[in-house]
């Protein structure tokens, strides 16, 4: 029997991991803002976590699954139902003269958003464990 603080605790912990990796990737984009032939990278993990949370909360997948009516049929290699995050190149505008295509404004914006969500997650986890602790501590107040 494992003691769980709350159903979303595990999800929030994984989200914190991914946000820390994303912070590193954005820092490396900013550090390489002048390196020739560098393309900015990013990581997208919201879909992977949404799939996991649907499994946890038993809501079923948000997409209609393809039915396999015969075992000889090939199953659909569904990208969107995997629970692994995706790294990708965040690009779309012309590289500058030295082959670099990092936009410093976009990078600093993404970094602010990421750190706000990180702090929000930490606060939410703190509140959850506070509730859990208060339940444990409350029995000591019964004289």
């Amino acid at each position: 029997m494992s003691i769980e603080i709350s159903a979303s605790h595990h999800l929030a912990a994984k989200a914190l991991d991914y946000r820390a990796i994303r912070q590193d990737m954005i820092s490396s984009n900013i550090a390489n803002a002048d390196t020739p032939y560098y393309r900015p990278r990013d990581i997208r993990f919201e879909d992977a976590l949404a799939n996991e949370s649907a499994k946890i909360q038993n809501q079923g997948s948000l997409k209609l699954q393809m039915a396999q009516t015969d075992s000889a049929h090939l199953p659909l290699a569904d990208e969107s139902s995997s629970s692994r995050a995706k790294t990708f190149f965040r690009d779309g505008h012309m590289a500058r003269n030295d082959g670099n295509s990092v936009d410093l404004d976009v990078e600093t914006t993404e970094m602010s958003k990421n750190s706000i969500m990180f702090n929000a997650l930490i606060g939410a986890m703190k509140k959850n464990s506070d509730i859990f602790k208060s339940v444990i501590d409350s029995s000591s107040k019964v004289s």
């Binding site: 929000a120 939410a124 986890m125 509140k127 509730i131």
Partner: protein
């Protein structure tokens, strides 16, 4: 001078008649109130949980709504725990009455 009425002793039969008059008003009894309170706290906890899940998956529309939901969950849980403590203390106090 009006007559002074005798102070009659309290008979248990009269008390029983009064109790059924109170209950007959259709009020809930204690067990139902308790159950609905626990259900409410449980719902608020689940909403708070879902808010944390939404923040994690990045689907949250308003960060302050999520923060409010989590705050409500915490407050309602702590309130219920305090009420439970008081009720238990009162019960124990009653048990200590000397007969």
């Amino acid at each position: 001078m009006s007559s002074i009425e005798n102070i009659s002793g309290v008979s248990s039969a009269e008390l029983l008649k009064q109790k059924s008059k109170i209950e007959g008003n259709g009020g809930e009894d204690f067990a139902d109130t308790l159950k609905s309170a626990i259900n409410e706290v449980n719902e608020l906890q689940e909403k708070g949980d879902k808010a944390v899940g939404d923040i994690a998956t990045g689907q949250v529309k308003d960060l302050h709504q999520a923060a409010l939901a989590i705050g409500k969950a915490e407050t309602s849980m702590k309130l219920m725990l305090e009420i439970r403590n008081k009720a238990l203390n009162a019960y124990k106090e009653l048990g200590r009455t000397q007969l």
